[in-house]
């Protein structure tokens, strides 16, 4: 199966790889201890299925003990052992390797091998998602192949360009800038993968990549981001779109350090003054949902019925009047004590959709009497400004993972992701309580109230969550997509025997 992708991988080593293609490929070469099931329930043990670990127990509130599957083998024949897990933890946490995932492993104090197939994780405190942190972030590395390489040189070692793993697929070849080929490991201990070969074909230009897909030179694409290209695929035969929730949501974040935007009432009025449904429809058509809050349909805390601020320009206008912001004439900029109601919105030039949405939002706010200036900035420049807190409002896109703890990453005071300096005790209390619930059923209502609190406080206007549309040729059957990782279930997919000349 040929996968069309617009970016080449950087390096195929899980602790270090940061580019999407690199992650997709290395995810199939290296395994986790356990995987999330389709429902992405991160809290309950029942939400996981065994992979490298055949089973696990919780002997006390601070420990998880994993029993490794004795059938698991590295692709050079050596069995997967507890020492590999210990080694892997060391690599991920080593500051010299500087893995971006290291901060997420902080609650894990130590990892020790109890015997060759048993490994114990000791946590610093109890919380319901211990199993998530123990399994989701790390992919186990082969100690016997890597421990002779000093950690500082791991990223640039040749292993990263020709990795040996324990997953359903084996590395075959990597033509830099061109293609990466993997072959199925027919002896994989959890069953032979359905598709014999996977080839990632790198085409930087999106339109050309879609052309390859439509022309039969590629069979699949993870996501087609541009509405114009989506229309092309829809109009064609032989290629179908499969929608799945994306791990993104985007919103206009207000900087509460600025006196103007520190006012909760003002922010609420701004949020109520935007017709989010229309914005989403005109920029994306059908390919995105209005964000119900700081979440996307991928997470289990998501619900259609979360309470949000209504779209009510009359109420917004009234609220602004009450605050003293008056317009001299309908459609004019509101003023209070002579000062105009004005702020600047930063938008990254890398995102066409955010630029378009910003323009529409600006237009709607202008009708409400709010003067918004749009400042397009290059991505890294914008990042620096928001990190410094040097902005009024910023059109941000957030990436989340299946765990609701990502809410804390972006909205907790003191967290680097909380660029707008949002700080509300009610939100703190709710999230802290949610983090103490041992089951999903118990935690769900608390998370829901936390999301509703966020909506009510309006630290941002949550605008949209794009729907990822993957494209597949008719040759690919039995496709299921786990939203956080589109190839997670690829071993169950099938390829219909097609063109014999393609040699698959």
């Amino acid at each position: 199966m040929v996968i069309a992708t617009t970016g080449d991988a950087d390096v195929l080593l899980p602790p270090v790889t940061t580019v999407t293609t690199g992650i997709n490929v290395s995810d199939l070469i290296f395994c986790r201890l356990a995987e999330l099931k389709a429902g992405l329930n991160t809290v309950d043990d029942s939400g996981y299925r065994p992979v490298l670990a055949r089973s696990w127990t919780h002997p006390d509130s601070l420990t998880i003990v994993f029993h490794l599957d004795p059938r698991a083998r590295w692709q050079d024949g050596v069995p997967v052992r507890a020492a590999d897990v210990v080694y892997t933890f060391g690599v991920y946490r080593d500051t010299v390797v500087n893995s971006p995932l290291a901060p997420f492993l902080e609650p894990i104090g130590t990892v020790t091998a109890l015997d060759t197939l048993t490994v114990a994780f000791h946590f610093t405190h109890w919380y319901p998602e211990q199993l998530y942190d123990a399994t989701y972030q790390m992919r186990i590395l082969p100690r016997h192949l890597l421990d002779t390489i000093p950690d500082a040189r791991l990223a640039s070692a040749p292993f990263g360009r020709a990795p040996v793993g324990d997953g359903p697929y084996r590395f075959v070849r990597w033509e830099a800038g061109s293609a990466i080929t993997l072959a199925a490991d027919s002896g994989w201990f959890l069953g032979r993968p359905g598709i014999g070969r996977l080839v990632w074909r790198v085409t930087p230009d999106l339109a050309t990549a879609v052309s390859e897909l439509l022309g039969g030179e590629a069979d699949a694409m993870e996501v087609i981001p541009a509405p114009g290209q989506l229309a092309r695929v829809e109009a064609s035969r032989g290629v179908r779109l499969v929608a799945y929730p994306s791990p993104f949501y985007a919103g206009i974040v207000f900087n509460q350090r600025r006196p103007l935007l520190a006012s909760r009432d003002l922010r609420r009025a701004l949020a109520m003054g935007l017709d989010r449904a229309t914005i989403v429809r005109s920029v994306f058509g059908r390919y995105a949902d209005v964000a119900v809050g700081a979440t996307s349909p991928m997470q289990w805390i998501y619900s259609d019925s979360i309470r949000q601020l209504p779209y009510d320009t009359a109420a917004a206008a009234r609220a602004l009047d009450r605050m003293g912001w008056r317009a001299a004439a309908p459609g004019a900029v509101r003023r209070r004590n002579g000062a105009p109601l004005r702020f600047t919105l930063l938008v990254p030039t890398s995102s066409q959709v955010r630029q378009r949405a910003a323009v529409i939002a600006q237009d709607e706010w202008r009708r409400l009497g709010v003067d918004v200036r749009i400042e397009p900035l290059e991505f890294t420049v914008m990042e620096r400004r928001t990190a410094r807190g040097d902005f009024d409002a910023a059109f941000e896109s957030r990436t989340i993972d299946p765990s609701p703890a990502s809410l804390l990453q972006w909205w907790s005071p003191g967290s680097a992701g909380n660029i707008g300096a949002y700080d509300d005790p009610a939100f703190q209390t709710l999230t802290a309580a949610a983090m103490r619930q041992p089951t999903r059923a118990g935690a769900a209502p608390l998370w829901r109230r936390a999301l509703e609190q966020l909506n009510a406080d309006a630290p941002a206007v949550f605008l949209f969550s794009p729907r990822n549309e993957a494209a597949f040729s008719d040759r690919v059957d039995d496709v299921t997509i786990r939203p956080d990782s589109w190839l997670a279930t690829v071993t169950t997919w099938r390829l219909r025997p097609g063109d014999a000349a393609r040699g698959r």
């Binding site: 339109a207 541009a226 229309a231 092309r232 229309t278 529409i360």
Partner: protein, 281 residues
């Protein structure tokens, strides 16, 4: 009859050249007054309902994904593209002539110094330099774009001019002027410069086309003049994504671009044929 009259006659007799010149004049006219007759190129009257509309009575060339009128933008872009093209060409030619002339009339050491500088500068890969500068300089104004393109493109002109000056220096009329005691500077200005005018004009007019294409390439990559200010290059970039659903968005600026470059090339060819007595086609 003065050589200029002769050249003029030759030019007028060349139909292609006349067509080119007429087209250039038309384009300049459109660029100058066109934006006054068409709508606002930045206006987004209805970003929701008017995106990607095909050509109609209200919008002769349709609208783009931001609901902007394609005709207004294409005409507006003419100002930017022509302005940068002509401006940068003039600047580059002036710089090249100045340096070439100086090198040609100066003493050996100055000449060596200048020409070595030119050689070093010529090795600079222009596109990398421009890419790097404009990748970083986001809000570069058109003047800056023209300036940088000119600053990286005058070297060939200086070599040509220097070569011409060197060969002219040995000519009889120059020797005569020198014998009469005319100062070097005056010789350069009054006697050499008119003879250089021919190659310079030809070089400049053919340069315009290349510069317009270079600027279009830069803005197609998302560098240089960025949206919302329209240039033909960034309009094609905008239209690339909707090439199949709304082809007019990329087609209009693309055709305008090609037409403009063709016009300048035709006129430039005509000028070269008219001014250069050797090329008797």
């Amino acid at each position: 009859m003065s050589p200029w009259r002769v050249a003029g006659r030759r030019f007028v007799r060349n139909r292609a050249a006349v067509a080119g010149a007429a087209l250039v004049a038309l384009l300049v006219l459109v660029a100058a007054v066109g934006p006054l007759c068409t709508g606002d190129p930045l206006a987004q009257p209805d970003p929701v309902r008017l995106q990607d509309r095909p050509p109609s009575g209200a919008h002769w060339l349709g609208t783009d994904p931001y609901s902007r009128d394609v005709l207004s933008r294409t005409v507006s872009a003419a100002r930017v593209s022509l302005g940068i093209g002509v401006g940068a060409a003039l600047l580059a030619v002036t710089l090249g002539t100045a340096v070439g002339l100086a090198a040609g009339v100066a003493g050996r050491r100055t000449d060596q110094l200048l020409m070595r500088g030119v050689d070093v500068a010529m090795a600079l890969p222009r596109i990398f330099f421009l890419l790097a500068v404009f990748a970083v300089w986001e809000q570069a104004p058109p003047v800056a774009v023209a300036l940088l393109i000119a600053l990286t493109g005058w070297f060939q002109t200086s070599r040509i001019v220097r070569a011409e000056v060197l060969s002219l220096r040995e000519a009889d009329f120059v020797a005569a002027a020198r014998a009469l005691g005319v100062p070097e500077g005056r010789i350069a200005r009054r006697h050499l410069l008119p003879h250089l005018a021919g190659p310079i004009i030809v070089s400049a007019s053919l340069d315009v086309g290349n510069i317009i294409l270079l600027e279009a390439g830069l803005s197609y990559l998302g560098l240089g003049i960025r949206p919302p200010t329209p240039t033909w290059g960034n309009m094609i970039m905008d239209g690339k994504d909707v090439l199949f659903s709304a082809p007019w968005v990329a087609l209009a600026p693309g055709l305008a671009l090609i037409l403009t470059v063709v016009a300048f090339n035709l006129a430039g060819d005509g000028l070269r044929d008219a001014l250069d007595p050797k090329a008797r086609a």
